[in-house]
């Protein structure tokens, strides 16, 4: 029953070979479940293989072969996985793309990768691809999953998934054992995947990863974390994200657990709860949003419940803090914690869908320590992992009992990290990529001469041997008095506030730190409702003086936990959210700092020029690519420190041993 392969078997296998093995070793066990028509519909391992095989035959009949590229575009759907494995079975390459990419981005990636087959989820995606057809000379076939609304399309390039499989079965009747032979011919060093990096600096780059690149880190991770075939996982993050490819393809095939797909993005919350996954991986954004949702729901409940929640939340925080410091927890706190477990923690875990979770991970970017501690204190075993697309996603994880918010844990078996003189983290791993597609110079620059990957992250290795990441190396800056500061560290502290959605912090080469932030429309909207503040639109809400005051208070709370020199002095509430369609953040929601600084140069000038407001005209892009210009005048706020320096120094001179209350 236990199909966990040993390391040796993995290093000589390809993804389709593992699929075929699973289809034999655990034929009738569910490989996937998709919630459809209100019911979780299982797909066995046998079915997974048969679907991939038949689709591969269909692709072969259409002339797809070794080295050809197939792109999937859409939400997580079984057929999009069948298609990727089908392409890889024939020695082809899977190129998943972001389902919310706008036309120009999509055209760039599909062209750059020379994709010849696109498998699209539905009419929306088909329309997007067909509208770009004139720009896609390599495109030969567009396959759709959901036929809805596509009945009247008579474009010969367009076929249904079933039609391709049907052609495949006819082709297969004439070519017995075709796919098996192709799978046998596959080598672990064949390219399996192009993962286009979101690129915080430039156009996306196609990271080439081999079967071995993906499988070796997956195997090392499975071993370190003792993952079993009985795990349940819910896959709902973009298929183009390397984390998805790693978990829902490589780890999934390697271990043979069950991968579940939600009904649609809006139902993820409920689907999580119904399913109760045992493992999970999500970027910081997800955890920040979840925390916000919990806080909002607690505030919306009855006063008694709200007070209970707040009380036990403090109990949990204190207990967690004591444990983290290695101190013993006093009996009364232990008792309170036990009551809290019954009244608050377990129900919250259950509501969030993590009631059965053994371990969940955050990765992709640093998660603020406060958010991290919240989940751990509520009994969710949240751990940090570290990786990069160029490392096939993963190279380190925190071991149980060694979890803390400041590090990303130890390197996995077979991987090493070192800190270069510049402070940059460099990693050696079997997951290191085979270069950027068609960009040999960039590929060469990414590696050191002795074959270590330059991650571009600044970090250090602590005395336990844990790797700690500070920020992107190029983002770590200095104020003009020489104080070094890491913008992301401060931003994460700001984002701990449920009212602040996204924030960019400035300060490199400046006298003090400032921020431009976007409020969270849901929480601030609810807050406005509760405080009887009428507003007409998001822009109107952002411009309200009361909202400015609210944000100022939140910044003060954040300042209280920052060193004196790097406290935020001035801020501006932006009247739009940061949007990937406007290139301000990447599709994985990382701030594109350089771009933002350029686009909002007027704001930065005003923040440091002492102006009370700034005229701003911003271009916004709609989802369909249309553009519009937003003209507005935004107010800039000052964050006053409560105690004046003169007063504080008097007290110190007078010898009063009262420490000045920081911030508040």
């Amino acid at each position: 029953m236990s199909p966990v392969a040993n390391g040796e078997a993995v290093s000589t296998a390809t993804l389709p070979q593992l699929l075929r093995r699973n289809a034999q070793a655990m034929a009738e066990r569910p490989a996937m479940r998709e919630k459809d028509h209100g019911i979780w519909q299982p797909y066995s391992w046998r079915r997974y293989w048969e679907e991939a095989r038949d689709f591969a035959l269909g692709l072969a009949a259409a002339g797809f072969g070794r080295g050809d590229k197939l792109s999937v575009i859409g939400e997580n759907r079984p057929r999009l996985y069948f298609a990727q494995l089908a392409a890889q079975s024939l020695g082809g390459v899977s190129v998943p793309v972001y389902q919310d990419a706008i036309a120009t981005e999509l055209a760039y990636v599909l062209n750059h990768a020379e994709t010849s087959v696109v498998v699209a989820e539905d009419q929306e995606q088909v329309d997007k691809v067909l509208s770009l057809r004139a720009q896609l000379p390599n495109l030969k076939l567009v396959v759709y999953d959901d036929p809805r609304g596509l009945l009247n399309y008579d474009d010969p390039i367009l076929k249904s998934f079933e039609a391709v499989k049907q052609q495949g079965r006819e082709f297969g009747a004439a070519h017995a054992g075709y796919v098996d032979a192709a799978v046998d011919a596959g080598k672990p060093d064949d390219i399996a995947l192009f993962s286009y990096t979101s690129g915080t600096t430039s156009r996306p780059k196609g990271v080439m990863l081999t079967h071995a690149n993906l499988l070796l880190p997956a195997a090392a991770f499975a071993k370190a974390e003792q993952l079993k075939p009985t795990e349940e996982h819910l896959a709902y993050l973009p298929m183009a994200w390397i984390g998805t490819s790693l978990v829902s393809i490589a780890l999934h095939l390697h271990i043979g657990f069950t991968c579940n797909f939600p009904e649609k993005p809006e139902t993820v919350g409920r689907d999580l709860r119904e399913l109760g996954p045992t493992i999970g991986l999500a970027p910081p954004r997800f955890w920040e949003n979840t925390l916000t949702a919990v806080t909002v729901r607690a505030a919306d409940s009855s006063p008694l419940k709200h007070r209970l929640f707040e009380y036990f939340r403090r109990v949990a925080e204190q207990t967690e803090q004591l444990k983290a410091d290695g101190k013993s927890v006093p009996p009364h706190l232990r008792l309170a914690h036990a009551i809290g477990e019954i009244l608050v923690y377990a129900p919250v875990r259950d509501q969030l869908g993590w009631g059965r979770s053994r371990v969940v991970y955050t990765g992709g970017a640093p998660l603020g320590g406060d958010v991290f501690r919240f989940f751990r204190s509520f009994g969710i075993n949240l751990k940090q992992v570290y990786g990069a697309t160029e490392l096939s996603g993963l190279c380190s994880v925190q071991a149980d009992g060694e979890v803390d918010p400041d590090t990303v844990g130890r390197m996995l078996d077979g991987m090493e990290a070192r800190i270069h003189d510049t402070g940059e983290v460099q990693v050696r791993s079997p997951g290191i990529f085979h270069g950027y597609y068609k960009q040999p110079e960039a590929s060469q620059e990414a590696l050191t001469e002795d074959g270590w990957l330059r991650t571009g992250d600044a970090g250090f290795i602590d005395r336990r041997g844990h790797l700690a990441i500070i920020d992107r190396a190029k983002d770590v800056g200095r104020l003009d008095d020489g104080t070094s500061f890491a913008p992301q560290f401060i931003e994460n502290k700001l984002k701990f506030s449920s009212y602040i959605g996204e924030a960019v912090v400035f300060g490199d080469g400046r006298p003090f730190v400032t921020t431009m932030l976007a409020i969270d429309p849901n929480t601030v909207g609810k807050w406005a409702e509760r405080s009887n503040l009428a507003y007409t639109s998001f822009q109107d809400l952002c411009a309200r003086a009361q909202v400015g005051q609210l944000v100022r208070e939140e910044i003060r709370k954040c300042n209280a936990r920052l060193p004196e020199a790097t406290r935020i002095r001035r801020f501006l509430v932006l009247n739009k959210e940061f949007d990937a369609d406007d290139d301000e953040i990447t599709r994985t929601r990382k701030i594109r700092r350089g771009f933002v600084a350029e686009k909002y140069a007027a704001v930065i000038d005003a923040l440091y020029g002492g102006a009370a407001e700034v005229e701003l005209s911003t271009e916004i892009t709609y989802e369909d690519g249309r553009k519009a210009v937003l003209e507005s005048c935004l107010a800039i706020g000052d964050v006053y420190e409560p105690e004046t320096p003169a007063f504080a120094s008097t007290r110190i001179l007078a010898g009063a041993a009262v420490p000045a209350a920081a911030g508040e």
Binding site: N152, E263, K264, E266
Partner: protein
């Protein structure tokens, strides 16, 4: 092949024929001697200024009003004197201008209610539940789930309809009408009060219903762009009378229609436009 499938649903066979129907309310002549015929599988629109008699005509087709004179024939059955419930049994479903959902019930329950017409188990067997009634319930739930999938209401299944936004309630109402498995669907201003994005979505759903199940659709709508975009044929009413009928292009060029909408002296307006 795909094109052939569509033309198969659009036939010349008349599915609904209203001949010379009139309706008065006291001294008001709401509808006067109007004849329209709708072919199987087409999307027909009825347009006209406020008070032109559009909704009254729809009410007569669905049995809410009885015509004072004239006749209505649906699928070969004269339905002029039928009650609304009997007409529903024949396969005509409708939605309302001001949404008529059960606000205290969930989206799913509202849709299941639409299946009621198609349920056969009686009071006794429903009471016992196991056996026939259970089997039937499961079959009907499966159909309700198809509609939830079709209209993308998955995340709202268990929500009370009164708590939903206006555009969503319109969509739920459409789902309930579709739950009857209608042969003819009457939609009274399905896009009234919607923003342009919601309108686009609704237009797509209407086209998809027509394409997927070949359902004949009669549509009352004020948004001319939508009407001209999705209708096969358009009938124009003005003060209770039919003043024009034809393809969207024909109707748009018809001087009587222009007059009804813009009043006399329209030429100047037109030139200015």
């Amino acid at each position: 092949m795909a094109v052939a499938a569509t033309s198969a649903t659009r036939t010349d066979e008349v599915q609904l024929a209203a001949t010379g129907v009139s309706k008065r309310f006291g001294g008001v002549r709401a509808v006067e001697d109007v004849s329209i015929s709708v072919r199987r599988g087409e999307i027909a629109s009825i347009i006209g200024p406020n008070g032109a008699g559009k909704t009254s005509l729809l009410n007569m087709i669905s049995g809410f009003y009885r015509p004072d004179s004239g006749s209505i024939v649906f699928d070969g059955t004269e339905t002029t004197r039928y009650r609304p419930a009997d007409i529903a049994h024949l396969g005509i479903a409708r939605t309302f201008q001001n949404i008529a959902l059960f606000g205290g019930m969930t989206v799913l329950d509202n849709i299941m209610l639409g299946r009621h017409v198609r349920m056969k188990s009686g009071v006794l067997s429903s009471f016992i539940y196991w056996g026939f009634a259970q089997k039937e319930e499961i079959a009907h739930r499966a159909r309700a789930e198809e509609l939830i999938d079709f209209l993308e209401l998955q995340d709202l299944r268990k929500q009370q309809t009164s708590a939903l936004a206006y555009g969503l309630r319109k969509r739920v109402e459409l789902a309930r009408a579709l739950a009857l498995d209608p042969k003819l669907l009457l939609l009274d201003e399905p896009m009234g009060g919607m923003n342009s994005e919601e309108k686009e979505d609704m237009a797509r759903y209407i086209l998809d219903v027509n394409e997927q199940w070949g359902t004949t659709i009669i549509l009352i709508e004020h948004d001319m762009a939508v009407v001209m975009d999705i209708s096969d044929r358009v009938a124009v009413l003005d003060r209770g009378r039919k003043i024009a009928e034809g393809t969207p292009g024909e109707v748009q060029r018809n001087p009587k229609v222009i007059e009804a909408y813009l009043g006399t002296g329209h030429e100047r307006t037109e030139r200015a436009a």
